[in-house]
């Protein structure tokens, strides 16, 4: 009956769990581009070093890690140059952590604008993840620069064909960060505790992931624990692809991919349900 009347929009109460509208998101792709531009351009405005911050941050983290974990704590790095070893982990982890933490406050941080005008809410976290991807790309170039520096100095680096799987892994990290982020952001509209938990959790999560130590240092009987940490096998594969250290466990990678998709799916479902009414609870 309504169809004959060809209404363009029918607004109804929230019902059901699967009302995710991909077509609408696509229609707003210009907005995603502009959000990315805004966040990318505006982030370091009125700073002296400007875009240099994109590089300084992983660089200094790497230096600190090299000194503390490499020199003082003497954690082995599978015979790799410690700088490269840590940087690989940091760049990958940073990308994931940024995606997670900055999407996790989507609703709360954008309550002002969401309260005034409608557009697909998913544009915000998606654009945040794209900004993260751009940052990651810049930092990856830094890493590759160091890679060649050490390579030419004769470090025992053995890049493998797994490099070709990199784009997939990058996408997976983005999806994982996005999925977890929107899951958390949907829940924080009601339980604000989660926003604290996220900051804390990503910090701790880094130590639960082989960033500052290699997988080979984990006793065999505990290795299975790393199978349920989807980031662990991604980071490990990332290192193996470039440096040839550690190993790739396709089984773990498959579990990781499965978990990523599951988290992403739950996140999307919850997000698209919450976005309709979160203005009443935020």
């Amino acid at each position: 009956m309504d169809r004959q009347d060809n209404w363009t929009t029918i607004i109804r109460p929230v019902s059901g769990w699967l009302n995710f509208n991909l077509a609408e998101l696509w229609r707003y792709r210009d907005l995603i581009v502009l959000f990315v531009r805004r966040d990318f351009v505006a982030i370091y405005k009125q700073t002296i070093l400007g875009p240099l911050w994109f590089l300084l941050q992983p660089l200094f983290s790497t230096l600190v890690f090299t000194v503390i974990f490499g020199k003082i704590a003497n954690i082995p790095t599978d015979g790799m140059p410690p700088m490269l070893f840590y940087m690989a982990g940091i760049v990958a982890w940073n990308y994931f952590a940024t995606c997670l933490t900055s999407t996790s406050n989507t609703f709360v941080a954008n309550a002002g604008i969401f309260g005034k005008v409608y557009f697909p809410r998913l544009t915000v976290p998606v654009s945040v993840v794209i900004v993260g991807l751009l940052t990651f790309a810049i930092q990856l170039f830094l890493f590759i620069g160091f890679f060649f520096y050490f390579y030419l100095r004769g470090a025992p680096l053995q890049p493998s064909l797994w490099i070709l799987a990199m784009p997939l892994l990058v996408v997976q990290m983005g999806i994982l960060g996005l999925g977890m982020g929107i899951l958390v952001s949907s829940l924080t509209t009601k339980y604000r505790d989660l926003s604290f938990a996220v900051g804390f959790g990503t910090q701790l999560g880094m130590y639960a992931t082989p960033i500052v130590y290699p997988m080979s240092q984990i006793p065999e009987r505990w290795q299975w624990l790393y199978a349920i940490n989807p980031m662990a096998s991604i980071v490990e594969t990332f290192r193996f692809a470039f440096l040839g250290s550690g190993s790739v466990n396709p089984q773990y990678l498959a579990i990781s991919a499965g978990m990523t998709l599951l988290i992403f799916f739950v996140g999307i479902v919850l997000f698209s349900r919450i976005e309709k009414t979160f203005m009443d609870t935020v």
Partner: protein, 427 residues
């Protein structure tokens, strides 16, 4: 109904008062599982007679149904908390209704607040694109309209400086310029006209008129009854989330003001006497020059207020009938009383105050009816404030001081007399 563009059906919106959740995840899960199993929520409150209160819910909108036709300019009025903004928020999809539905034909754009999503660090130009896309435009579309937007905003010179350096006026102008070029089929406006200078308000109102004349639909929420009267043919009065009245603007505005005030008030069948032992008020009415009671008068037409009263005893008192003209907001327009007073013997009388055309301004007026006397001191025999209401209507055909359509804005002031002017060249 092919030309209905918005159809609101039994729309309700509930807000839960107090705590939104029970605060802990455990209790929420408990309530949720109880709901899922169809059991009583163990965490719901219990009222004084032992029933479970489902929720201390507040209905911001309660079973609201109405239709808006294409090209209508619909005004929405009501006191604070009546549900006006909630209605707009649901139509603009910022929040979802609790029950009911809204069916919409065409793209909806809202000016719920201009400048949404402006980023202070970005330049004016960048913000035009950002804001435009947030409001639902495509990038190419904005590119096409860019010149128009920039012209309308009048901030050309500053287009490439960050908007944080803008004055608040420039900021608002730029924001409105973007919104004004949306060309939606349905435009929602909420009180945005409160900001900006007069010149700018004029542009805004002109743009709204242009949009409605282009066959598009406008829903306009405002507290300015004057603006509502001059822009909207139809009006929706909300009270406590329900529709109190929906219809022609004049009758709705009058209902809102007087809470049912009318052009004619009879005091003989009230069951109580209005007046004292000297005089009593019988009735009052607003009439046009054909002696018919009216509640809406063309601004060019004369009108009259007529009052009937009864003198109960012969005395030396000279009664002063006086009419109090008050505009919405409580401001006195003026008080009028006859020039000449007479001693009146007992009996029924009728007194009429004639108001010429082209004197009052457009908008609503209340009339209070009173009789007082000055012998020896001031005695108020009766004073019934705001018992009559009427609305002065500007035909908006450009005939009354509007110089064609040169000035489409609200004329300020409580009166709008047409006075004689002279222009002389100085030698």
């Amino acid at each position: 109904m092919s030309d209905t563009v918005i159809k609101v059906e039994h729309l309700s919106k509930e807000y839960h008062l107090g705590t939104i959740s029970h605060g802990t995840l455990y209790r929420d899960l408990q309530s949720w599982s109880a709901r899922l199993l169809g059991k009583e929520d163990p965490n719901s409150k219990i009222d004084s007679i032992g029933r479970r209160v489902r929720n201390s819910a507040f209905k911001a909108l309660d079973d609201v149904s109405f239709e808006v036709k294409q090209g209508d300019v619909l005004g929405v009025i009501g006191r604070n908390g009546a549900g006006k903004s909630t209605l707009l928020k649901i139509i603009s999809r910022v929040t979802a209704p609790s029950s009911g539905a809204i069916k919409i034909k065409g793209h909806v754009a809202s000016l719920l607040e201009v400048g949404t999503g402006f980023h202070p660090e970005l330049t004016g130009r960048e913000n035009i694109f950002l804001n435009g896309t947030i409001l639902g435009m495509r990038k190419a579309e904005i590119q096409r309209k860019l010149d128009g937007i920039v012209d309308f905003s009048g901030v050309e010179q500053f287009l490439d400086s960050p908007v944080k350096r803008y004055s608040s006026g420039m900021y608002v102008r730029l924001a409105f310029a973007v919104a004004a070029h949306l060309e939606p089929e349905i435009l929602l406006v909420d009180e945005v006209l409160a900001v900006g200078d007069i010149q700018f308000q004029k542009q805004c109102l002109g743009k709204m008129k242009e949009i409605s004349e282009g066959g598009r639909t406008v829903i306009f929420v405002s507290h300015s009854l004057q603006t509502i009267s001059s822009l909207c043919e139809k009006c929706l009065l909300l009270e406590d989330g329900r529709i109190k009245r929906f219809g022609a603007t004049t009758e709705v505005v009058l209902e809102y003001l007087g809470g049912g005030g009318s052009s004619c008030a009879n005091f003989t069948n009230l069951g109580k006497v209005v007046g004292d032992s000297f005089v009593q008020l019988l009735m009052g009415e607003v009439i046009n020059n054909k002696q018919e009671p009216v509640n809406e008068i063309d601004i060019r037409e004369p009108l009259a207020i007529r009052m009937r009263f009864r003198v109960l005893q012969d005395s030396a008192i000279r009664y002063i009938p006086n009419f109090h003209f008050i505009v919405p907001g409580g401001l006195y327009a003026f008080v009028s009383s006859p020039q000449k007073l007479h001693r009146l013997s007992s009996g029924d009388y009728e007194t009429t105050c004639y108001i010429p055309g082209n004197f009052l301004n457009e908008g609503a007026y209340y009339v209070g009816l009173a009789i007082s006397s000055y012998e020896p001191g001031l005695t108020i025999h009766f004073f019934e404030p705001a018992v009559l209401t009427f609305n002065i209507k500007d035909p908006m055909d450009g005939s009354v001081g509007r110089y064609g359509f040169g000035y489409a804005n609200v004329m300020p002031g409580v009166v709008r007399p047409q006075l004689d002017w002279g222009v002389q060249k100085l030698t």
